[in-house]
Amino acid sequence: MTELKRYYAPTSLDQAVECLKGGNVTILAGGTDLTPQSQAGRIKFRETLMNIRHIPQMSGITLEGKEIRIGALATITEIMEHPLVREHLPALVEACDHFASDQIRNAGTIGGNICNASPAGDTLVPLLVLDACVELASMPETKLYRHCMPISTFFTGSGKTRKSLCELVTGVRIPVPAAGHVSRFYKHGTRPALDISTISIGVAGNLKDGVLSNVRVAFGAVAPTPLRATATESALEGRHLDAATIEAAAVAARDEVNPIDDVRATAWYRKEMIHNMTKRMLENVAQA
């Protein structure tokens, strides 16, 4: 194992991605996970610890064309309170509202929540149903290279993503939803604050005359990654949101998840909760 040899706080994106070229870098943003994980020995530092706080291109929440861009360094509090997010992305507001505690929301960043890739990461399920794309930056030769990757393909396992060690997540882009778009988020835990999800559910789509289209359903904490629930989406797509459709979707949801038993809940309980809460959320959407 390499030893921590250098601390670096770049002030531009170019400096940061140049530093990442060798790949032997631990990235520090809000620090709410890296601090306790490293002190407990669960994360070993690489050769360089790079603090990305001072890179201006990575902050802020802006409307860019038909997309809302949230900089990777935006804190959960900033996102939750931002008028653009409150107007267009209620499922994301809801997830931020149920995120840890005020102190952690004030420090933790959305980029960190994405890169941690926890199956129970609170913002990941709403980002999935909102068709978010993850912005990545790197420096393959001498020039800055930036591209986007749909978040639905970003996670490869618990704590694992398709981001290479030479890449930096600079932000997330979310299409501004069309009129008539609805989105909901539900997190189940045993207490309101500082809880890790037992399960979480995101539902989104365009609702017109009681029919849901362009349906997105995602679940958290029921698999090694947060995931899109394609069978549940198919059970809803283009159908009238009546009791039969809702029950069929809830059953599809229960059948398509394959959770594990752990300290927070049994697999059986998670499947039942997925069924019951998917049903309740869809009933709520039908009444919208």
């Binding site: 921590l4 601090t35 306790p36 102190q103 420090a107």
Partner: protein
């Protein structure tokens, strides 16, 4: 050999320059390097809020922050809180309401309550409970803490203490 890095920041209104271990958290820096022991170590993982400080005007858990990340920022601990009118009013309200039992959670509670009052001038009990949900009191003396914060937000220019003196 641990890697050190020199940082400059403002602590309770005073500029500081320190060399800190790069892997050290801000709580250890405050307690062990600076010597301000008002900020408490409770759990070390952000569950209890005993180590709450304010950085650039927002509250956060100092145990979840790297000391080097204080560089260039404005840090306030409980020792600096009562230099300000709202902090002093909060201290008075905690005393009047008997909101201090063993006292271990009190610095964190006050730092978080101060941040809450900065955002919500007149919070009701529900708002205070929500704001303090990241702070644990193992004596379970929550009622008086919530009462103290609500009362502090409900004050006009005259504090109950001053009103009491007038009687």
């Amino acid at each position: 050999m641990s890697l050190k890095h020199e940082i400059e920041f403002t602590l309770n209104g005073v500029k500081r320059k320190l060399a800190v271990d790069v892997t050290m958290n801000a709580l250890d820096m405050l307690r062990e390097v600076v010597g301000l022991t008002g900020t408490k170590y409770g759990c070390g993982e952000g569950e209890c809020g005993a180590c709450t400080i304010q950085v650039d005007g927002v509250s956060l858990n100092s145990c979840l922050m790297f000391a080097v990340d204080c560089a260039g920022r404005n840090v306030t601990t409980v020792e600096g809180l009562t230099d300000q009118p709202r902090g002093e009013a909060l201290r008075e309200s905690f005393v009047e309401h008997g909101a201090v039992q063993c006292g271990f959670c009190t610095p964190g509670m006050m730092m978080q309550a101060d941040h809450l009052l900065a955002k919500h001038e007149h919070p009701d009990a529900a708002c205070v409970k929500r704001g303090l949900e990241g702070n644990l009191c193992r004596c379970t003396g929550y009622k008086k803490i919530v009462d103290a914060v609500v009362a502090c937000g409900g004050r006009d220019s005259v504090t109950p203490a001053q009103a009491g003196v007038q009687k």
